[in-house]
Amino acid sequence: MPDSHLIRDVFPSPSPSSTSLGFELLALDMKELTTRVRFEGRPEFCNPAGVIQGGYLVAMMDDTIGMLAGMKAGKTKLPSTVDLHTHFLRPVRKGAIEVVARLRNVGRAMLFAEAELYDSRGKEAARSTASLTLNPVLKPAREG
C-alpha cells in the first residue's frame, strides 16, 4: 500500500483500457516491486460458455504488469510488452477479480514480470509471465 499515491505522478489519469476493465489499485509497493489490482469481470466479457473470455483475463494481467512496469520505468521510459504467456487454471465467472503482479528482474533495457489472477472467491485462476522492453518516451504517458 505505501506507494499507491504515486500512481498519479506517472499516470495522471487511468487509460481507456484500465477504465473499461474496472481497474482499481488496491496496493502498490515499489520497494518490493509488487502490486495488487482489482478488476470487474463484466457480463460483456463473457464467452459462449458464460465465463470471462480468457483474453480478457490476459488483458487484466497485462494492464497490471504494464502499470507496475510503468511505475518502475518512470516518465522517461515506456515499457512495451514483448511476450506474454498465460496458463488458464480454472474458469472465471463474472464478478470481482484481483490480480497480483511483481517485477522479477529489472534491467536497463528489459523487465521481466509475473502475475496471478484470482476469482471472486479468492481462487487462483490464471497465471502469466511476461517480458517488456523499455523504450525512450517520445511524448509523456498521456491521459486517457
Partner: protein
Amino acid sequence: MAFDPVSFFGNPANAPPIAALLGWKLLEFDADKGWIKVGFEPKPDFLNPAGLVQGGMLVAMLDDTVGPAVIVASNGQAYTTTIDLHTHFLRPVKLGPITTEATVTRLGRSVAFTEARLFDSEGRLCARATSSASVGPMPGGANA
C-alpha cells in the same frame, strides 16, 4: 446437414457478449485446412496510456480466433477451453480495423493446438500467438 460456419456464427444465439464487444466478424474460412480469418473493430476504450491498443485486448482477439478455428475445423463438434496462450507482440497497433488468422495445427481427442496471427489496418503482422486448448462438446449442441 453439413456444418455451416456462416450460419453458425451468424446466429445471435451463438454470438457471445465478448464477440459484440470486440466487433468480431467471420471473414473467411477453410474447414479442411482448419483455417479461419476474422475481422475486429477495436474501440477507443481499448487504448493503453500510450494511445495504442492494449496488448491484452490483442490477446483477447487472438483467443477469440483460435477457439472459432477449432469449431470450424471440427465441423461444429468441438468447443474449446483455453489451457495456455503465448503471444509475441511484434509491433504496436493503432486504433483501426484488425484482422486475425488462425490455423489448427493439431486437433486431438482431448487437446487442440492452434496458431494465430494478428494484422493491423495496413496489413502488417503485429502479434503472433500459439495456444493449446482442451476439447469438449459444444454447449447446447452444434445446431446452427
